[in-house]
């Protein structure tokens, strides 16, 4: 039904005589079953120390600016034939890269001319999807969902748990969304802890129980708190009835036992439970390494945990059979990178350009994307007196002491939305209002969709 509506609204009715179209309309609607796992690395992760520049000049600048923190070219894990290497703590990511399931975008983020070095504003710029503005009333993931379920008609009319945020409260990217389940620990998310005689009805417990009464009361009114409580009680019942607290995955690689590992393990289980979830929003924070970044607990360990858990997650999905692995894409980003110069406390301060990681079986992996701006520090930076005029210029390649941003993060996200979600130019413009830089870099493989066969998407020449 939705498809038909879309066709009318799209003024494409002139094609309605085609036999392909009428047969398409009579078949069940082709819902989009792609799953996005979005991981936000809060605090501003130091991408320069994860995907390390190995080119002659840049590596030299890097080593000079990071006297104590640099990853030497002798230990970085060379990425194919590129001039970059991975931090050895991210060895698990190297395997995903070599298998073609990891694509790396470097020097990406919020464009220099509107960048901010405030964590909170930088996060809002990205999560609201409107860089430069912090007052936007909805987040980009919400607008993506709204377009898919609304005008695009790509989602079914009802989904039990359409969006899950593994947090205590919804991220800004989901601002405005009333269908998100926020659950920081699905295994503990149960409300059957009143006295057994009065909690939930089962067996000979046939009375009127607390968990009969509360959902009924929360369904009585349609105000905001009732709506929220109703959602919570629905999700509680679904998860209490299905979630296995002992779940340990079907893969051979260990997840580990830490915050990101537990989250990814929970996501894998929920994907396999087929609860209808299309978007998972995860956080893995603590990257604000102003001090002692060389202390392993501040950077190396969390990086290793993240890499290990991501590899285990992909392995788990791959080995469980069925479609989950084919349908799932992970996109990882942070609010900004860090300064190219380390500070006096063996840490790094807030910077600009950073990496984005894209993982999945439908990703053009084993490649790096973006335009590398270089690390030449120039002589103008007010913080450190460093001059190296040998390239004939004193203009820095750095932006305000940090890696410059050459790829707008929206370019990566919008390619995902189009290639894996069949967003139109109109709906992309709703997800990222005012953004006109749509131009696919080839990071994502295009998901086949009958609608494209009929109408073409209008994006690719």
């Amino acid at each position: 039904m939705k498809r038909r509506q879309f066709l009318k609204e799209g003024a494409l009715g002139t094609l309605a005589g085609g036999s392909m179209l009428s047969s398409e309309l009579q078949a069940a609607p082709s819902y989009n079953e792609e799953i996005l796992v979005h991981i936000f690395l809060r605090g501003g992760i130091d991408g320069l120390n994860i995907v390390v520049p190995l080119g002659d000049k840049d590596h030299e600048y890097y080593r000079i600016m990071r006297r104590r923190l640099a990853i030497p070219d002798t230990s970085a894990l060379q990425l194919g034939s590129t001039e970059f290497g991975l931090n050895p703590k991210a060895a698990a990511l190297k395997e995903l890269y070599d298998a073609g399931h990891l694509a790396i975008v470097h020097a990406t983020g919020t464009p220099n001319n509107i960048a901010t070095r405030s964590h909170f504003d930088a996060e809002k710029y990205i999560e609201l999807g409107t860089p430069g503005l912090v007052g936007t009333s909805t987040g980009w993931l919400h607008r993506h969902f709204a377009a898919m379920s609304g005008v695009l008609g790509k989602y079914p009319d009802e989904i039990f748990l359409p969006i899950v945020a593994l947090r205590n409260n919804p991220p800004v990217s989901l601002l405005g969304n009333h269908s998100v389940l926020t659950v920081s620990s699905p295994g503990d998310f149960r409300l059957d802890n009143a006295h057994w005689r009065w909690d939930v009805s089962s067996g000979d417990n046939a009375g009127y129980m607390q968990m009969d009464m509360l959902p009924e009361i929360y369904a009585l009114h349609n105000d905001e708190v009732s709506h929220a409580g109703n959602q919570a009680l629905t999700a509680e019942l679904i998860l209490r009835s299905s979630f296995d607290r002992q779940y340990n995955g079907s893969g051979n690689l260990p997840y580990g036992d830490n915050h990101i590992a537990r989250q990814l393990k929970d996501v894998a289980q929920m994907i396999k439970l087929e609860l209808g979830t299309r978007t998972f929003a995860l956080d893995y924070g603590g990257w604000d390494s102003h001090v002692s970044q060389n202390y392993s607990g501040n950077f190396d360990d969390p990086l290793e945990r993240l890499s290990t858990a991501l590899a285990a997650f992909m392995d788990d999905l791959n080995r469980s059979g069925g479609s989950p692995a084919e349908r799932t894409t992970i996109i990882i980003q942070s609010e900004f990178g860090r300064r190219a110069y380390e500070n006096n406390a063996t840490g790094t301060d807030h910077g600009s350009g950073n990496i984005m990681l894209v993982i999945g079986k439908n990703v053009g992996g084993g490649k790096m994307y973006g335009n590398w701006p270089g690390l030449y520090p120039g002589t103008e930076d007010g913080w450190v007196d460093y001059a190296n005029p040998e390239n004939g210029s004193t203009l820095p390649e750095l932006f305000e002491g940090a890696l410059s941003t050459t790829t707008d993060f929206r370019r990566v996200l919008s390619e995902y939305l189009h290639k894996r979600g069949h967003h139109t130019m109109a709906t992309l413009n709703q997800v990222f209002p005012g953004y006109s830089g749509y131009s696919p870099m080839g990071i994502f493989n295009t998901l086949p969709d009958p609608a494209d066969v009929i109408f073409g998407s209008g994006f690719e020449a």
Binding site: K2, V151, E158, A194, M213, H221, A228, Q231, D244, L273
Partner: protein, 655 residues
């Protein structure tokens, strides 16, 4: 193969909730996990009975217009409590009918009573801080075996015992846990409730992550000597006290900021979070591009000539340099190692500086003082701080009129010793605060909900103690109070609202969307169930053996005291506890009442198989005689569960 699977899933998703079969929702072909059979029937019944819908349904609200994607949740008809109840439910942790009685005795009309209430609350707290005239709190603190160890320790002693002596975990953490439990006790027992509401605000405004190693050992000092003595005083003084506090200096790394390696972490947040707010940031703009600050209309504050309207990156750098050398005494700085603030002149950057458009006219330690002056007198600091205060006290999106009115007081009185008290008075005594349209413009945070529920129900039967953090076993051996307190501690953590424990310097969020998520709700409700019933092993040395229940918050004895045996009916008990917790008085004709549908469901729960809502229930029945007389069995624990459920009502989430 893939197709058939897709079809199946699609069918499931298309099926409406009420018609979902036992095997339908989750059991799909070869899935490794499925609904456990024992619970499948329950699930189906609940989905039907409770009219539970999928979290997303286009059938409920189909939004296809291109210009708006906001799910517009319509406001239903919900009741608004009377003015005095609204005020008390906002200005205290948990409503109490006794509060209303006292409030009504404070004057001849509501305005008079509110003004007298606010004055009494704020003056009373200040006159007796640290708690003197606070009998209920003092009694709790004086109970033997509460385990508090660091509340009386000076900063020097905290530093010596918890940092220098390096006692290891959990000992270095006790100043934090002591402060968390002291605050919980205050929220439940103190008569100076408004002070607790404001302490929560200022701890959120100047948030430090208490559990960080740098912060936990000195947290008692931060709460007792930095936040609380200043929160009704002068903002400029408070700002300096926070900037010089051991907790903040360590939390945001200013301790190690030197001219050789300036660390901008604190200096950035000073403007962005503590004073002007990111809304007044001009990013990388040049000074000439930033407009001048406009004096606050109606304020006598005279702004320095040329003061800019906001800050830019160059101001962050200048503030960073001005703050180099603001550190603490350690074995590396001055070797005295006292943990106190010191100014380390050798570490200070002596270049000339300019801040918010004006040269800094002093040198050394005084530079940062001049920066704090400019921030404190700035009209946009007044607006930023007052908007946050109004958001806490009135609603998520406070009317501009009250923000501007409060900011005018803030700016005009910027040098007054009771500046912040005057600002709070202006907000609470405003028409906007009193306006019934602003009721429910905020929801309670989990901690408010939990502490408030305990307070409404008269506190805990035993005592709240600072638990032994080493192991649950050790707490069990120390008795029920320890065991319950530790359970409560971990459950508060799970709610996402454990006091003083927000990781980033922006502090706990203060908006409805942040706290109406499913996790905060379910986890807070879980805690509420647990404060009405907890478990304890019959033999503390054998926690794997039998356990028995006990009631940390005991509403059975309160109920039996309130009603003679013949009047302990479902209806009376529901009305009594709705009045105690929510302030709706069924006996008072013409006053706002909780909706009848909700009341009837509560009565049905309490009544079960009893003949009528007015049949007297045997509240002493706590045994397993279910088969003989169902409505007499487990009546006591049923009452405990009833009161927990009242505390979980949507109405109790509003403030």
């Amino acid at each position: 193969m893939r197709n058939s699977k897709r079809m199946k899933r699609r069918d499931v998703l298309k099926t409406s909730a009420a018609a979902v079969g036992t095997a339908g929702v989750f059991a799909l072909g070869t899935l490794p996990l499925s609904v456990r059979p024992a619970e499948a029937a329950t699930l189906q019944k609940r989905l039907k009975a409770a009219n539970i819908k999928p979290l997303f349904s286009n059938k409920i609200a189909r939004k296809t217009t291109a210009d708006t994607y906001l799910d517009n949740v319509p406001e239903g008809q919900s009741v608004v409590p009377q003015a005095a109840v609204r005020a008390l439910r906002r200005l205290a942790y948990g409503y109490k009918p006794e509060d209303l009685t006292a409030f009504n005795a404070l004057g001849n009309n509501f305005d008079q009573r509110l003004e007298n209430y606010v004055n009494a609350q704020l003056n009373g707290y200040q006159a007796t801080f640290p708690p003197g005239n606070d009998p209920a709190l003092t009694a709790e603190l004086n109970k033997p075996g509460t385990n508090f160890t660091t509340l009386g320790d000076s900063l020097a002693k905290l530093w010596q015992d918890r940092v220098v002596a390096a006692p290891g975990w959990p000992h270095y953490n006790y100043p934090l846990v002591d402060s968390q439990y002291l605050t919980l006790l205050r929220c439940v027992y103190s008569q100076w409730q408004l002070a607790e509401v404001l302490a929560d605000f200022w701890h959120t405004h100047f948030s430090v992550q208490g559990s960080k190693y740098e912060v936990a050992p000195v947290f008692v000092h931060y709460d007792r000597d930095v936040i609380r003595p200043n929160m009704l005083g002068n903002f400029r003084q408070m700002l300096e006290a926070v900037t010089k506090s051991t907790a903040m200096l360590r939390y945001l790394d200013n301790v190690s900021s030197t001219k050789w390696g300036p660390n901008e972490n604190f200096a950035r947040e000073l403007q962005e979070l503590h004073t002007l707010g990111a809304v007044h940031s001009y990013g990388f703009a040049e000074e000439a591009e930033i407009p001048d600050a406009i004096p606050m209309p109606g304020s006598s504050a005279s702004l320095p000539a040329g003061l800019k309207a906001g800050y830019a990156e160059h101001d962050v750098r200048q503030a960073t340099l001005a703050l180099t050398g603001w550190t603490i005494s350690t074995q590396w700085s001055d070797e005295l190692n006292s943990g106190k603030y010191i100014y380390h002149g050798n570490w200070h950057d002596n270049s000339s500086k300019r801040y918010l458009g004006i040269d800094i006219s002093v040198s050394g330690e005084a530079e940062a003082g001049q920066i704090l002056d400019r921030l404190a007198i700035h009209p946009n600091t007044a607006r930023y701080v007052c908007r946050k205060l109004c958001r806490r006290l009135i609603g998520d999106d406070p009317p501009e009129s009250i923000v501007e009115a409060a900011a005018t007081v803030f700016n005009d009185k910027w040098q007054a010793p009771d500046q912040l008290k005057q600002v709070v008075r202006a907000i609470i005594l405003s028409a906007e605060f009193k306006d019934s349209a602003n009721w429910g413009a905020k929801s309670k945070k989990p901690f408010e909900l939990i502490a408030g529920t305990i307070r409404s129900c008269g506190g805990v039967a035993g005592k709240l103690v600072r638990p032994d953090m080493t192991s649950y076993q050790n707490n069990l051996k120390k008795g029920k109070d320890n065991a319950f307190s530790q359970t409560l501690y971990w459950m508060l953590n799970d709610s996402g609202n454990m006091l003083f424990n927000w990781v980033t310097p922006d502090g706990f969020p203060d908006s409805k969307p942040a706290w109406l998520g499913s996790t905060p709700l379910v986890m807070a409700w879980k805690v509420i169930n647990s404060v009405f019933m907890s478990g304890y092993p019959n033999d503390v040395n054998d926690p794997n053996g039998g356990w028995h229940n006990f009631y940390p918050v005991d509403v059975v004895s309160t109920s039996t005291n309130a009603f003679p045996e013949s009047e302990r009916s479902a209806r009376n008990l529901v009305n009594y506890w709705v009045k105690r917790i929510l302030g709706y008085d069924a006996a008072a004709q013409g006053t706002p009442q909780l909706d009848a549908a909700t009341i009837n469901k509560l009565i049905a729960f309490m009544q079960q198989d009893a003949a009528s809502p007015d049949t007297a229930l045997d509240l002493s029945a706590d045994g397993n005689n279910w088969d003989d007389t169902p409505w007499k069995a487990y009546t006591a624990i049923r009452l405990q569960t009833l009161v927990a459920s009242i505390a979980m009502l949507p109405d109790n989430l509003k403030r």
